[in-house]
């Protein structure tokens, strides 16, 4: 940035970017001008007057425009008549700011005194007490003596549920509107608002259910007082009693950096428990935000149903056994003909686990039959070549750049990506969205391409081929204009998902989009910073699974294997027909997910899990694994950033980390001594996976100073996000950054779609499942099974809003409620809150007539 502006604050010169506010500029040189309503992530409003300073501007001669000087040669300054708000005024060249003069200090005193006229002063019971900007600034700038009569204070409601998750204490609110502005400006969920004026002003929610936003928890962080509290943490502990432990959110491929605040608790029998989860600043990943899933869905880690001991089947029943016995037994049973054994993993496991998993199968059992249990999205191999380049930051995208989002609903699949894409569009990036249905991103898109179900590839193909040739300006429709915008873009980031697509289709889609990035247009996109492909993976570490070679055709580091093994689909078929004898499942529940009906003709089934899932009850041996909160490890985000998480709570029962269990079985099949620690397993990863070369637990833990500075020890952003002291992670470079990448051959895909009304699975954030089900706070928000369809389709099928219908999902009948919603495309039923299935299916809705309803 060349637009640097130099100003002087209390005699110290500082140069900052044009457009910076005085308060933020002062922060750069460690001058904390107190603020309440101001927040560097929000637009300034100047509502609280806490930041008043004296601002002097150089005086110019009216006629000539030349700067006037005093007799001693110093520039003449005009300080105006009063104090000005440092949070709203942008810096200008030669500006002189005074923050420590008598009038400024006097003004601060008055503002604090004014704010406290009706503050309840219940710091001792306030959840913010101890990390409260109002407390801190009162201590620093307040008068210490009140002139007000306490009886005159307003008495307001202290227990106002704004929704199921957030409570408002009206007495504590200082009316800074940070919460409202966050919801409106940052996340575009304007569901809370000021109501009334003056002393009767209060915050109300406009939505039903109340405070209906997946971002609501963030308002409790940025609220400068304890007016907003979460249902999860309310009265849970005092902030100074908490131990912060750095972690990574285990729910989606964004990989938000979080901090778990833990504390020993008598109610948990003296165990250390997670009291709350808050964002940890990483400006390249989640900035200072997390979604409510990341914040509230952690209770599974400590749930009473967790497996605590290895189980083994005896006389048809699962009984407890010792680790030694269980491991010996498993190792013995797996050493059969390599073609008869297979392993399926879940993509929630860490890189270390997944690496140990493939090592057990490839090196130990000599079998290539390994895959992810749920094959939803292909293209890891494409992303390894043309993925988002290392050093990229979605925050850098803006005017002149373009973002393409295909077949994904980022808002529910990867909320923070949605937020960052939306913000890039607001900064001027051209957003193109292609999907079979409308999503929340459409509102920010320059072009929304809605294709018919099954036409995804054709549409993208058209887009790509148009972007390839200089488009004929005579024909203008959305596709043409969108292609042109993509073609012209300086930087191009592409997100793609699997909505409505079968696995083969996602593979072709990834390659098509890879080719789009490889188009020569003066500059090629692939390989340049802030360009590349981002797969919207279904799980948090699907990227890591690809990198670690949990794939029938790729060894770690995308090395093709000589003879590919069975993929998951083939494994399920082989289970049914008896071609497979032994199956090892780690961190996945194919039976519960409807991918595998039963254990078929398997001789031996091992399940390594947190809970006794539908698959685990069928197993011969169940091995209890540790959750991410009890152990350390690394996850790799969809942007290929390898990030480290740390142990926060004590181990549950006798459970062991997944990598250790796998290595201990490996030891019994001849793979040598298991590593002592996750960090050593990661050393092996870095040795064998070329992309991870040079990484280790120390480099992943490196940090650097981040701006805006909000999480530190400072007075006025206390209780915001946590400062990142435990690692910003490392993004691994794609092939295109180092060498030329050839165009991808796009396979032709036969989908075999049948005609008729189609139905498509859509993602919802709080989808029912083991993890979400364990979290009582989120229970009211849990997604219910619904089928949304257009009014015309509903009329044709004679179903109405609220009816119950039965649909076939993966061969099982599932009951869902009908929601007539004209945002659903005609001819396509959108089903959510049920197990996933690939592609689209013919919607065969059978109306269920409840007996009670049938009477009248």
């Amino acid at each position: 940035m060349s637009d640097l502006i130099t100003l002087t604050i209390d005699g110290v010169e500082v140069s900052v970017a044009k457009g910076t506010r005085i308060a933020d500029a002062a922060k750069r040189i460690g001058n904390d001008i107190p603020v309440f309503c101001h927040h560097p992530k929000l637009e300034p409003v100047g509502m609280c007057r806490m930041c008043l300073v004296e601002v002097g501007l150089p005086v110019r001669d009216r006629a000539t425009g030349a700067l006037l000087t005093n007799a001693d040669g110093s520039p003449q300054l005009n300080f105006g008549r009063g104090l000005q708000t440092a949070c709203t005024i942008q810096v200008s060249e030669g500006m002189v700011v005074r923050t420590a003069t008598e009038p400024v200090l006097e003004a601060r005193k008055s503002v604090i005194e004014f704010l406290l006229t009706s503050h309840p002063l219940d710091c001792p019971i306030c959840d913010k007490g101890g990390e409260c900007p109002l407390q801190n600034l009162t201590m620093a700038h307040g008068v210490g003596q009140s002139r007000m009569h306490f009886g005159d204070k307003l008495k307001l409601d202290k227990h106002v549920p704004l929704g199921d998750l957030i409570y408002l204490d009206r007495e504590r609110c200082i009316q800074c509107a940070r919460c409202i502005r966050f919801q409106e400006e940052v996340v575009d969920d304007p569901v809370i608002r000021f109501h009334n004026r003056g002393r009767s002003l209060e915050i109300v929610t406009l939505s039903d259910p109340g405070f209906d936003s997946v971002w609501s928890g963030n308002t409790t962080d940025i609220c400068p007082v304890g007016a907003l509290t979460t249902a999860d943490f309310r009265f849970g502990a005092r902030p100074w009693e908490l131990t912060p432990v750095a972690s990574i959110c285990p729910h989606c491929p964004v990989g938000c950096n979080t901090t778990m605040s833990t504390r020993r608790e008598a109610m948990a029998n003296g165990r250390t428990v997670i009291k709350r989860i808050m964002p940890r600043q990483n400006e390249a990943v989640n900035e200072i935000w997390i979604c409510d899933k990341g914040r509230f869905v952690h209770h599974f880690a400590d749930h009473a149903n967790r497996l605590t001991q290895p189980l083994i089947r005896q006389n048809g029943k699962l009984v407890e056994t010792s680790w030694g016995e269980a491991l010996d037994f498993v190792a013995g049973k797996l050493q059969i003909d390599a073609h008869m054994v297979a392993g399926l993993a879940g993509a929630r496991l860490s890189n270390e686990d997944l690496f140990a998993f493939q090592r057990l199968f490839r090196d130990g059992l000599k079998s290539q039959n390994i895959d992810l249990a749920k094959r939803r999205l292909a293209g890891g191999d494409v992303a390894a070549q043309v993925g988002l380049s290392s050093g990229s930051n979605l925050k850098d995208l803006g005017k002149g750049d373009a973002i393409l989002v295909v077949a994904s609903d980022l808002h529910d699949e990867a909320p923070v990506w949605w937020l960052r894409v939306k913000q890039a569009a607001e900064r001027g990036a051209t957003l193109v969205v292609a999907n079979a249905r409308a999503t929340r991103l459409d509102a920010f898109a320059a072009f929304s391409l809605h294709y018919e179900a099954g036409q995804a590839l054709a549409t993208v193909n058209q887009l790509v081929s148009m972007a390839k040739v200089e488009t004929d300006t005579a024909v203008t429709n959305d596709i043409v204009s969108a292609a042109e915008a993509l073609f012209k873009a300086e930087n191009l980031v592409i997100f793609y998902g699997s909505e409505g697509l079968a696995y083969d289709e996602t593979d072709a889609l990834a390659k098509l989009l890879g080719n789009l990035l490889l188009i020569e247009n003066g500059h090629k996109h692939a390989g340049r910073v802030n360009n590349g492909l981002v797969p919207v993976w279904p799980h948090n570490n699907t990227q890591g699974a690809w990198d670690m070679g949990v794939h029938p055709a790729y060894a770690p580091g995308y090395k093709p294997v000589k003879e590919a093994g069975l993929d998951a689909t083939a494994v399920y078929a082989a289970v049914a027909n008896g071609d497979l004898k032994a199956l090892y499942i780690a961190g996945a529940d194919p039976v519960g997910d409807g991918l595998m009906p039963d254990r078929g003709k398997l001789d031996f089934l091992v399940v390594q899990e947190l809970f006794l899932t539908d698959t685990a009850v069928l197993a011969d041996v169940v091995l209890p694994a540790q959750s991410w909160a009890e152990r350390e490890g690394t996850f790799t985000t969809g942007e290929r950033r390898v990030q480290r998480y740390y142990p926060a709570i004590p181990v549950v029962g006798q459970s062991r980390p997944d990598w250790q269990i796998l290595a201990q079985i490996g030891e019994r099949v001849g793979l040598g001594k298991p590593a002592f620690a996750a960090s050593l397993t990661f050393k092996d990863v870095a040795r064998i996976v070329p992309q991870y070369k040079g990484m280790d637990y120390r480099t992943l833990a490196q940090v650097e100073k981040q701006w805006p500075d909000v999480g530190g020890e400072d007075l006025y952003y206390g209780g915001n996000a946590y400062e990142n002291r435990s690692g910003l992670g490392q993004q691994w470079p794609v092939t295109a950054e180092k060498s030329a990448v050839a165009h991808f051959d796009v396979p032709t895909v036969k989908t075999g779609r049948k005609d008729g009304l189609q139905m498509m699975w859509t993602a919802v954030l709080y989808a029912p499942g083991t993890l979400v089900d364990c979290s009582d706070v989120i229970a009211p928000r849990k997604a219910q099974p619904v089928a949304a369809l257009h009014g015309t389709d509903a009329a044709r099928l004679a179903v109405a809003d609220g009816d119950w219908v039965e649909v076939m999902v993966n061969g099982t009948a599932v009951q869902v409620t009908v929601r007539v919603d004209d945002r659903a495309p005609v001819g396509l039923v959108l089903v959510a809150g049920v197990p996933w299935w690939p592609g689209t299916a013919v919607a065969d809705l059978k109306k269920i007539v409840a007996a009670a309803l049938a009477v009248n």
């Binding site: 002063l121 219940d122 001792p124 019971i125 009265f235 502990a237 008598a266 109610m267």
Partner: protein, 169 residues
Amino acid sequence: MFGMIAELAKGMGITLKHFFQPPVTTQYPEVKRPVRNRFKGRHELKRYDNGLERCIGCSLCAAACPADAIFVEAAENTDDERYSPGERFARVYEINMLRCIFCGYCEDACPTQAIVLEHNYELSFYDRQSAIYTKDMLIVDVPVNGRPTPQVVEPGVFTKAIPMMENPE
């Protein structure tokens, strides 16, 4: 030499004098000496006259304690199940008497004068576990006109956790 004998006799004289004085040994535990008013003995958790607990579970005593002897875990009051005025009460309150150095900082820190070091000094235990005094042991009996906690109370009455501060002159 003579002087030495004189000194010796003086010393013996004192001994002899005390020999005829009444003994000062107190026959503890049969006989107990009263303590001074400011004596800091075993803590008590106080109640208001209506029986509500003064303690609001704020943990400030635990924060002030130099020996890390206090453990507080809070929970939320409702009008149907009210322990203390305001929203917060101590669900768990424990003092480890082996750690406590009876400095009284907890008493100073308490915003509701809930924790008070009283005059009981008879603290002895056979094991470490019984040195941990729980809330049941620390809390005083319900006053004559009060009701035990939790109480069912009229909504909207006990909204203030902390007693009103003194108004400025």
